[in-house]
């Protein structure tokens, strides 16, 4: 275990998420405890409705827990307001979504430039061009999402996610909308970029082969962690 891995990038303690439904209160997540180290890759697995995406949202600071705490790189997200959390995200966090979530009105290049512009980077265009070249889309810079295949869209999303050189990358079913061949290519690319940049990777997936490539699996069942398997 390198020195890098001793740094805890993501920590959750006593994490609960409870929502109100027509039939009363529903616990989606119950008492989650976890720690993820720098440069570690972790797969969150479980059946549909087990609370995987909710956990991902809480870990990334997209949502707030009903109780418990999340620390990203030592920052207690519960102590921050939405703008504070956004600031953390703009520095530390990249995202890849199942349905790509590219802005349809923006070209591939503009989509990748967006987080760089938000961070006020002056080299947004150059950096975005490089990244798109890295994911093999240098001929597609001015294409709009609808002119790209699903695999290509996800590659743009990868380039966007790595644009700010995030410390932590969250991926929600990154291959969920892709065929197995394309999915495999995307995953290869994801792990390559991850290795190149030393990013901590947290991904939610159904795909056991994808989960198996990660250092560790966190299995959820009905909102609880049932085991944490350490591949390393």
């Amino acid at each position: 275990m390198s020195a890098n891995q001793k740094i805890i990038r993501v920590a959750a303690s006593g994490l609960c998420k409870r929502v109100e439904t027509a039939n009363g209160l529903l616990d989606i997540l119950l008492d989650i405890e976890l720690k993820i180290h720098a440069a570690e890759s972790v797969a969150i697995v479980g059946v549909s409705g087990s609370g995987k995406s909710t956990l991902l949202g809480l870990l990334a600071g997209l949502d707030l827990p009903s109780s418990g705490e999340v620390h990203l790189d030592g920052n207690n997200l519960s102590m921050l307001d939405e703008d504070g959390r956004a600031e953390i995200r703009s520095r530390l966090v990249g995202f890849v979504f199942q349905s790509f979530q590219l802005l349809p009105g923006l070209t591939a290049l503009e989509n990748v430039m967006l987080p760089l512009e938000l961070a006020g980077r002056n080299d947004a265009r150059e950096r975005a061009t490089q990244l798109l070249a890295r994911v093999g889309l240098d001929a597609r810079l001015t294409h709009y999402p609808k002119q790209l295949s699903g695999g290509e869209q996800q590659r743009v999303a990868l380039a966007r996610a790595f644009a700010i050189q995030p410390a932590i990358l969250f991926a929600d079913e990154p291959t969920g909308n892709l065929d197995s061949t394309t999915g495999k290519l995307i995953i290869d690319l994801l792990f390559e970029l991850n290795a190149e940049q030393g990013t901590t990777l947290v991904l939610v997936t159904h795909d056991e082969s994808l989960a198996n490539r990660c250092d560790r699996k966190i299995r959820l069942d009905a909102g609880r962690v049932v085991n944490g398997i350490d591949h390393s």
């Binding site: 997209l62 939405e82 995200r89 987080p115």
Partner: protein
């Protein structure tokens, strides 16, 4: 699917959309369109009919046929066949004699039906208060105008002789319908019973007589009769309708009506734009539902039917509400004003609602149908691939439908094809110009972005990335601003024109036939009672006989041959002072160097009718003298200003040696009326024309049509705001999604807020620039072509409007997107 089930499903979907708030703006826009168009069109209709009625009251009939001979009896029989009332009167000039004194008078012989419209007013003595009269002079009696009594030094009860008949004067005639159009230079009136005509012995072969046939009835009958009558007439006949009857108020009322027409047009366009924007959003939000329904096995036809059913239900409901609302509003407003305005009774029955339904249906078909039709083409595969979109609607169909609808509705409401065509052409040109200029503005501003701060640059980039949506928003905002500006500026112009036109001290009396040697004394007498007179104008009666040395009858076009100006003597005058309300359209005004030069200034409409041009040589006969004069200028005259005005004006020194009289006008408040008696007793030759009743009424009408103009204005502001709201919310879905994504990528609410603010400020600014450009263009056309007002370029507006646009849209946009700033980024994960 069975029709019943389909309807049930359609209603359920509609109810769900309603609950979700999807349909509110569409419903409100429809209600507004229907309410605006119905209320304004009903108001226009009732006012127009009211004004026609009032004009008819002034004329004494709806139509008058004048002829020098009795007309063929079939003309009258035909009138009864069209259910028209008829009465005849006979008019001739005759000396009225009392002892040794003579007075040339215009005698009118009437029967009991006279007048068919309006009422005569009489008084028991000269210059005392008068009242409406429902009868006519009995046989053997006569009613005389005050001038006859004063010049013959008579009072009521005395007798006069007309021809060989002696008549006792029983009343003083102060107002007679049909008199208003011919106030100057007419001999004073003596009204007698038609039974007495033969006994006067005046009617002989060769006598100069005017037979007047008065007709009244409903519009259908009148129009049909008028159409039938025209081909039966020859050049000696003339027909006067209500439009000719009221020159004094004609222009003002016409402008008010045109303003109302303009109001309807703008309401239709604005509501249409609002509906188009809202439906576009509606159809985009229904892509998923449609794909799912197709996936579940609904055929394209069934899917379309489902949406059409929803539109029908929505349209019927909105039209009913809007129609009722519109009807109530106009009824309420006109009820408040009915004492003061010539308002015709409301058309009872179902018509208002039918009209509302037609409007609502047309708006839906024109603006909502094309985007909804697109929904049936959603590929079912969209359930798997959300990026799949139906083929875009055929642009020709979308715009064709919308333009067709606006065309149809405006034509339906204004019935003025010229107005509709020019408006439509203008709108198309304007839309293209808006688009091009909007694009240019975006592009130019974008090239300046390196000089801007981060938020501005970001906002501008957002606008550029979404440029199609940005352009349509700029156009919509620009259109709404433009509509509000046009309607506001025209309103200001009209109201100030009306206020200036008839200020409180507008001359309400004319004194004519003032002998030259008495002119000063008359002025002094009036001045001694603190009554200020306008300039004294010399007045000489002369006939236009040649144009460029050709007799007028052959020199003018066929249509102009019956022109009144050729059949009677014109009032000629000389002066170097151009009346305030006169304008030189061609050539130059007279100056002191022109004294004694044979020049003449000609009134523009007369010149147009007779084909008289600058530098033409006109020949006049004045008494026994001939006179040639060259046309030095063509001059427009505001005939409804109640000031002395002339067709022909000469420089001094040309007519001076010809026998002339003088005329002047003055404002006399009611309490000084007795001064009139004093004046005519001292100067019996002077003829007084009392216009105070007419003028007071005109002033009242001006102030009331101003109220209506305000009402229309308020309504259209509301319509404009709804368009603005619709356009603001149009991009909200995209912004919510983008907001969530940007927050996920780490944007702070301040960053989002600043970017939105910058975006909306820019949108508003661009829209303001487009609006002021469009407004100036529209006003120029409106003023010069339609309203006959002077166009004034206002440079200040070019600064104010874009800034106000930026501030307004900036603030409203910032407010409307406040939700976006706080959009939870979890939306993205939940959507996945």
């Amino acid at each position: 699917m069975k029709t019943f089930l389909q309807w049930r499903l359609a209603l359920r979907l509609l109810a769900r959309d309603w609950r979700a708030g999807e349909l509110r703006i569409l419903f409100i826009a429809l209600v507004l369109a229907v309410a605006a168009t119905t209320s304004i069109s009903f108001m226009t209709d009732r006012l127009a009919r009211g004004m026609v009625n009032q004009s008819a009251d002034f004329l004494g009939a709806d139509i008058i046929l004048k002829s020098p001979r009795p007309v063929n009896k079939t003309l009258l029989r035909q009138a009864s066949a069209f259910n028209l009332q008829t009465t005849e009167s006979l008019q001739f000039a005759s000396m009225v004699v009392s002892g040794d004194a003579l007075q040339l008078s215009s005698v009118r012989a009437v029967d009991e039906q006279f007048p068919l419209r309006g009422k005569m007013r009489t008084a028991s003595a000269s210059y005392v208060s008068d009242s409406e009269t429902h009868s006519i002079p009995l046989p053997g009696e006569a009613w005389a105008a005050p001038a006859i009594l004063s010049r013959l030094n008579l009072s009521t009860g005395d007798s006069v002789t007309v021809g060989s008949l002696s008549l006792r004067i029983t009343r003083v005639l102060t107002f007679e319908p049909g008199q208003a159009g011919e106030v100057f230079g007419v001999s004073p009136r003596l009204l007698i019973n038609r039974i007495d005509v033969p006994a006067t012995g005046v009617v002989q072969p060769g006598s100069r007589l005017t037979y007047q046939y008065l007709f009244a009835g409903d519009k259908t009958g009148l129009d049909a009769y008028h159409t039938w009558l025209k081909p039966q007439l020859d050049a000696s006949h003339s027909v006067i309708g209500v439009h000719e009857g009221r020159r004094a108020l004609g222009a003002a009322l016409e402008r008010a009506e045109r303003y109302l027409g303009l109001g309807i047009m703008i309401a239709v366009i604005l509501a249409g734009v609002a509906i188009a924007i809202v439906v576009r959003r509606y159809s985009e939000r229904h892509l998923d539902v449609s794909a799912m329904l197709r996936c579940l096995g609904l055929s394209q036809q069934a899917l379309l039917a489902l949406y059409l059913m929803q539109l029908v239900v929505l349209g019927v409901a909105a039209s009913a509400v809007g129609g009722l609302l519109g009807w109530l509003m106009q009824a309420g407003l006109l009820a408040v004003l009915s004492d003061l305005l010539p308002v015709a009774p409301s058309t009872t029955g179902i018509q208002p609602f039918l009209l509302g339904f037609v409007t609502g249906a047309a708006m839906l078909i024109g603006f909502a149908l094309p985007p909804v039709m697109r929904l049936k083409n959603v590929p079912p595969l969209r359930v798997l691939r959300r990026d799949l979109l139906p083929m875009p609607g055929n642009a020709w169909m979308v715009y064709g439908f919308a333009i067709g609808t606006v065309f149809f509705l405006i034509w339906r409401y204004t019935d003025d094809i010229k107005l509709v065509l020019s408006a439509m052409l203008g709108a198309v040109v304007m839309a293209l110009a808006l688009f091009i200029v909007g694009f240019a503005l975006l592009a130019v501003t974008r090239s300046l972005q390196s000089h801007m701060g981060v938020a501005w640059r970001f906002g501008l980039n957002n606008l550029w990335r979404r440029r199609q949506l940005s352009l349509s928003q700029i156009s919509a905002f620009g259109l709404a601003f433009m509509a509000m500006l046009v309607i506001a500026l025209v309103r200001n112009e009209l109201i100030s024109t009306w206020t200036q036109q008839l200020p409180a001290d507008t001359p309400n009396h004319f004194a004519v036939n003032i002998l030259p040697e008495q002119a000063d004394a008359v002025q002094q007498l009036l001045a001694s009672h603190d009554i200020e007179t306008t300039q004294l104008y010399p007045m000489i009666r002369g006939r236009l006989v040649t144009i460029n040395h050709q007799p007028v009858r052959t020199a003018v076009s066929k249509e102009a041959q019956g022109d009144n100006a050729l059949n009677r003597e014109l009032n000629l005058t000389w002066t170097l002072n151009l009346q305030k309300d006169n304008k030189i359209l061609e050539g130059r005004w007279l100056n002191s160097g022109d004294t004694k030069q044979p020049f003449v200034s000609v009134e523009s409409r007369l010149a147009e009718r007779l084909g008289i041009e600058l530098n033409d040589e006109l020949g006049f006969t004045i008494g026994a003298q001939q006179l040639q004069a060259r046309v030095l200028n063509i001059r427009s005259v505001q005939w409804d200003s109640f000031r002395p005005n002339f067709y022909m004006i000469f420089p001094p020194g040309v007519l001076d040696n010809l026998p002339s009289t003088y005329m002047t006008s003055f404002y006399m408040p009611a309490e000084k009326k007795p001064v009139l008696g004093e004046l005519v007793r001292a100067y019996p030759a002077v003829t007084l024309i009392e216009m105070d009743l007419v003028l007071a009424q005109a002033q009242r009408i001006f102030s009331q049509i101003s109220h209506i103009v305000e009402y229309v204005f308020a309504f259209l502001l509301l319509a404009g705001l709804i368009v603005l709201y619709a356009a603001l919310t149009a991009s909200q879905d995209e912004r919510l999604y983008e907001g969530a994504l940007m927050r996920t990528l780490g944007a702070s609410s301040k960053q989002l807020g600043q970017a939105h603010l910058a975006e909306f400020l820019l949108l508003g600014f661009f829209a303001g620039v487009l609006a002021i450009m469009g407004t100036e263009a529209i006003l120029w056309v409106l003023y010069s072509q339609l309203l006959e007002l002077d166009y004034n370029f206002n440079p200040l507006l070019w600064i104010i409007v874009p800034l106000a646009g930026a501030l307004f849209i900036g603030a409203a946009g910032y407010w409307s997107t406040r939700k976006v700033k706080h959009q939870s980024p979890m939306l993205l994960l939940n959507n996945s």
